[in-house]
Amino acid sequence: MEELIEQLKQQIIEALNFEDMTPADIDAQAPLFGEGLGLDSIDALELIMLLDREYGIKLADPKSGKEVFRSVRSMAEYIEKNRTK
């Protein structure tokens, strides 16, 4: 799980163009939206594309997004259970 979290942090940095950030700057428990990383709705769409592209996960239920994208750790937990690649 820790390895997946580190990989996911790196993928988020690349997908969202956080040029000044390293994986160590991201708290895996911190909220992704609002406070924490302060992501916006376009970033949310990029994360959905990231799940599809990198892990073969299609988020069919919009309601599940709130829980999946709570933090990097919650994303990693969801990926571990649902990944197809």
Binding site: E19, D43, E46, M49
Partner: protein, 184 residues
Amino acid sequence: MRITHEIEITPTAVILDGQTLTQTETGEKMLIGLYRQHANDYPKFFKMDTLCRLGFIATELLLQAEGAERFVPTEDRAVILANRNASIKNDKDYLKTISEQDYYPSPALFVYTLPNIVTGEIAIRNKYMGETAFYILDTPDQLMPIVETTLNTPYSTLNSAIAGWCDCSDANTFYAKIQIIWKN
């Protein structure tokens, strides 16, 4: 009309009010270097496409040269830009994400597939609530009559405009010549 400040940016040079600012990088790396050196307080810059980065950093340097109080909401300044290549550089980048071989459309690229986003980015940054417009023209000289008309529209609240040419066809091919122009 009265021009008080002017900036010109090419992939290898920056000239602000007639003075050349020494650069160590070229192309888009130069724009990023300028951001780090002269702004560095607006992380959204890194999400912008090259056209927006060009317009953003040109405006930052212009407004710093002007030296007036910034980030105060105002309706008396317009942002009127033009170019010939619209958002072609970003359009091509987006097109790569929807190719048949690798179909993962990028929302972050999609939002920049319109050239007028650059005027919006400048207005949001500087809290300009007045006119913004982006024109696709053949040559830069066609813009000035538009700026003059906009500033002198009878019912207008405008006193000045950030106006000029802001064109980008790829990460290493761009040109901006932007001025602060006053009605009187």
